[in-house]
C-alpha cells in the first residue's frame, strides 16, 4: 500500500468525505455546542448566562447522587448485556445451523418487532406484568395467588424491557459471525475425537466471539444510554444516568447541567468502547478470518 502513488493514497479520504462532512455537521459541531453549553451558568428555570465556569462539572464530580447513577447504569447495563448474550446465543445458533429451507423467515421474525414503535413494545409489558395484567390474571384464574403480585415498576421489569428491545441486536450480531463459520469445522472436530459439546466449545464458540463481542458492546452501550425504558417500566429508584439528563433538560429546564451530564455520559460510554476493544483484541480476532 505504501508504495502506491499519492493520488491513490488520497482516494480513501475522497471516498470518505461525504460521510465525514455529515458527521462533522450533524455530530461533531452539535457536540461542540453541548460542550460549550456545559460551561454556561443556569440562574433560573430556562435562564442561562453564557460563561466559562466549572460549576456544573464540579457539581457532577462532588455530588454522590451522580456517582450512584453511574454505578446503577453500569450495573444494569452489565446485567442486561450478560443475560442478552446467553439468551441471544441460542436462537442465533439455531438459526445459523438449521437446515430449514426458509431460514429467511426466521430472520424476518427477528426484524418484524422493529416495525412496531419501541415505546409501544415497552408499554406492552404493563399489560403483561401489571396488577390487572395477563400474568396476574392467569395466576388468579388458576387460584395460585390470592391478591395480584406487584411485579411492575421494579428493576426486574426494566431488565425484561431492555432485553426485549435489545435482544434482536445481539442475536443478529452473533448470527452473522456464526453464519460466516465454515459448516465443516464442527464435523471436522467431531471426526478427530471431540464430543459435540467439545467441538462447539473449541471451534464454534471461539470463532463466533467477534459477533458475540460486538453484540455485547452494542447492547451495553444502548442500555447505558437509554432513559425511556426505566421511565416507563421502572420505579422511582430505577433510574439510569440517561434519566438524569432527561430530568435536567426537560423537568428542571437546566440546560447547562443537562449538557454537562450528556457529555459525561458520552465520555463514560466512549471510554468503555475504547477499553473494550483494547481488552477484547478485536483486531487479533479478525486476523483469524483474514483471507
Amino acid at each position: 500500500m505504501s508504495d502506491q502513488s499519492l493520488p491513490a493514497d488520497r482516494r480513501p479520504w475522497i471516498l470518505l468525505s461525504p460521510a465525514l462532512v455529515f458527521i462533522t455537521a450533524l455530530v461533531v459541531v452539535p457536540m461542540a455546542f453541548i460542550l460549550v453549553y456545559s460551561f454556561y451558568e443556569n440562574i433560573d428555570l430556562a435562564q442561562d448566562v453564557p460563561a466559562f465556569q466549572f460549576g456544573n462539572w464540579q457539581e457532577l464530580l462532588t455530588d454522590s447522587y451522580y456517582r450512584t447513577a453511574i454505578w446503577k447504569t453500569l450495573r444494569l447495563s452489565l446485567i442486561v448485556t450478560g443475560l442478552a448474550a446467553v439468551l441471544g446465543y441460542i436462537p442465533a445458533y439455531v438459526i445459523a445451523m438449521t437446515r430449514y429451507r426458509h431460514k429467511w423467515l426466521l430472520l424476518l421474525l427477528l426484524i418484524i418487532p422493529f416495525w412496531i414503535s419501541f415505546i409501544i413494545r415497552t408499554l406492552s409489558w404493563i399489560h403483561i406484568f401489571g396488577n390487572q395484567g395477563a400474568l396476574n390474571g392467569l395466576l388468579g384464574l388458576l387460584g395460585l395467588t390470592e391478591a395480584p403480585l406487584s411485579i411492575m415498576y421494579t428493576e426486574f421489569t426494566v431488565i425484561v424491557g431492555f432485553i426485549h428491545v435489545f435482544l434482536p441486536y445481539m442475536i443478529l450480531n452473533i448470527y452473522v459471525s456464526l453464519e460466516g463459520i465454515d459448516q465443516n469445522l464442527e464435523p471436522a472436530a467431531r471426526t478427530l475425537g471431540a464430543t459435540p459439546w467439545q467441538a462447539f466449545r473449541e471451534v464454534t464458540l471461539p470463532l463466533s466471539l467477534p459477533g458475540l463481542a460486538a453484540g455485547c458492546l452494542l447492547v451495553f452501550v444502548l442500555t447505558g444510554g437509554s432513559y425511556v425504558t426505566p421511565l416507563i417500566l421502572g420505579g422511582p429508584s430505577d433510574f439510569l444516568f440517561g434519566n438524569l439528563v432527561y430530568d435536567a433538560v426537560v423537568t428542571e429546564l437546566n440546560w447547562p447541567m443537562g449538557a454537562t451530564l450528556s457529555f459525561a455520559l458520552l465520555l463514560f460510554l466512549g471510554s468503555v468502547v475504547v477499553l473494550y476493544s483494547k481488552l477484547m483484541g478485536m483486531d487479533q480476532l479478525s486476523k483469524a478470518f483474514g483471507r
Binding site: P187, T191, L192, K287, A288
Partner: protein
C-alpha cells in the same frame, strides 16, 4: 487399519432417496474410490461411514465391529474435506494436534507426532503459522496431516483435490497416493474426476443416481464397463443401438447398421460376473460400446464403413474427431501420424472387436 463393509445401506432425506441399497467391501489397506457425478450418493456414503449421517437402514462394519450406533467421535476415522476445514483460529501445529488431545498422549509424544506428520506431508516449518497464511495446496496437506496423525482405522477423503488448481491437483494426486502407500491406511476417496479415480485407485466403485453401477479395478471398469452409464462416464465412448444375433461361450455377435456384424469377446467380462452384457441372448436389443480411441480412421475407400469428419479438435499429438455415418454421430480419438484428417473429409473406420463391449440397452435413460 481395518476393512470396511457396507451391507445393504439405504439413505433417504425425506422423500429423496440418496442411496438405494449399497453393498461394498473396502479391503484393509486398499485405496477405493467412489466415483460418480454430483448427487449420485457417493458423498452420502462417505458421510455415513464417518458417522456424520446415519443410514436409514443397513449395516456398516469397520473391522468386525458394527458401527451404526457408534458416535462420530468414537469411530477413529480421519476425514479430509474438499475445502480443507482447518480451524482458522488455531496454528498449524494446534490444528494437527487437535485430534491428539482426545487420545491420552503425553505432551512430548504429541509434539513428536505433530512433527512427524508435518514431515510426511513435507511441510516441516509451518507449525506456528495460521491456516490463512498457507496456500490451498499447503492447507490441504495440513488437513491430511491432521487426519493421519491420529492413526485412523480408515482415511476418508471427500473430493480433497477438487478445490486445487489443475497443475497442483496432479502433483497432490501423486503425493497423496504415495503417502497412502507409505502408511498403508485403508482409504476411501470420493471424486467425480475419472482420471483421479483411474490413476489412484486399487478399486473403483462407480455410482449413479444412488446406485452402485459397477465395482472393479480401474482396468475392469474402463475396459469392461458393466452398464452404459459406466461406459459413458469413464472415457469417451460411442454407444450404438444393436441387436444380438447370437452367442457362444466366448463371444456375442451384435449387428449394427453402421458396422454390420461384430463379434464381441465376452470371456473376461463374464468371468468377472460384472458385465451385465453377459446375460444378453439372441434377439435382445443391446448397445455396442466402442471406445473413442479404439475407432481408427483411415483414408477413404475399401470395404470399411465410410464416415464424414464433421469437426476436428486438435490436441497436439492427438486429435479428437467428430464423425457422422448417415444420421449416427461418433467420436474417435487417434494419434496423429503426419497430419490430422480435416473437417469435410471422408474417411474409413476400423474397429477392433476385442476392444468393444456389449451392453444391455440403457433402461435408466
Amino acid at each position: 487399519m481395518a476393512r470396511v463393509e457396507l451391507v445393504n445401506i439405504r439413505k433417504s432425506f425425506g422423500a429423496l432417496k440418496a442411496v438405494h441399497g449399497a453393498d461394498a467391501v473396502f479391503e484393509e489397506g486398499s485405496f477405493t474410490t467412489l466415483l460418480g457425478p454430483s448427487g449420485c450418493g457417493k458423498t452420502t456414503i462417505l458421510r455415513m461411514i464417518s458417522g456424520l449421517e446415519s443410514p436409514t437402514s443397513g449395516d456398516i462394519f469397520i473391522g468386525e465391529r458394527r458401527i451404526n450406533d457408534v458416535p462420530v467421535h468414537k469411530r477413529n476415522l480421519g476425514l479430509v474435506f474438499q475445502n480443507y476445514a482447518l480451524f482458522p483460529h488455531r496454528t498449524i501445529g494446534e490444528n494437527i494436534a487437535f485430534g491428539l488431545k482426545y487420545r491420552n498422549i503425553s505432551p512430548s509424544d504429541m509434539a513428536q507426532k505433530v512433527k512427524d506428520a508435518l514431515d510426511i506431508v513435507r511441510l516441516p516449518k509451518v507449525q506456528d503459522r495460521y491456516p490463512s497464511q498457507l496456500s490451498g495446496g499447503q492447507q490441504q496437506r495440513i488437513a491430511l496431516a491432521r487426519a493421519i496423525v491420529i492413526e485412523p482405522d480408515v482415511l476418508l477423503l471427500d473430493e480433497p483435490l477438487s478445490a486445487l488448481d489443475a497443475n497442483l491437483r496432479e502433483d497432490m494426486r501423486v503425493e497423496l497416493k504415495a503417502i497412502q502407500d507409505r502408511i498403508g491406511v485403508t482409504s476411501i476417496f470420493v471424486t467425480h474426476d475419472q482420471s483421479e479415480a483411474l490413476a489412484m485407485s486399487d478399486k473403483i466403485i462407480v455410482m449413479s443416481a444412488g446406485r452402485i453401477e459397477q465395482i472393479g479395478t480401474p482396468e475392469e471398469v474402463y475396459n469392461t464397463p458393466a452398464t452404459a452409464f459406466v461406459a459413458g462416464f469413464l472415457g469417451a465412448s460411442n454407444m450404438l443401438p444393436a441387436r444380438v444375433l447370437g452367442r457362444d461361450a466366448s463371444h456375442i455377435l451384435l449387428e449394427t447398421p453402421e458396422f454390420g456384424q461384430t463379434a464381441v469377446a465376452l470371456a473376461r467380462a463374464a468371468a468377472l460376473g460384472t458385465n451385465r452384457g453377459a446375460t444378453l441372448s439372441t434377439g435382445d436389443k443391446a448397445l455396442l460400446m466402442i471406445r473413442a480411441e479404439k475407432l481408427t480412421l483411415g483414408p477413404a475407400g475399401g470395404d470399411a464403413p465410410q464416415a464424414v469428419v464433421e469437426n476436428v479438435d486438435y490436441q497436439g499429438q492427438l486429435a479428437r474427431y467428430f464423425l457422422r455415418i448417415g444420421e449416427t454421430r461418433l467420436q474417435a480419438i487417434n494419434m496423429i501420424d503426419a497430419a490430422p484428417f480435416l473437417a469435410g473429409q471422408t474417411v474409413s473406420l476400423t474397429l477392433n472387436p476385442n476392444a468393444c463391449s456389449a451392453l444391455p440397452e440403457d433402461t435408466s435413460a
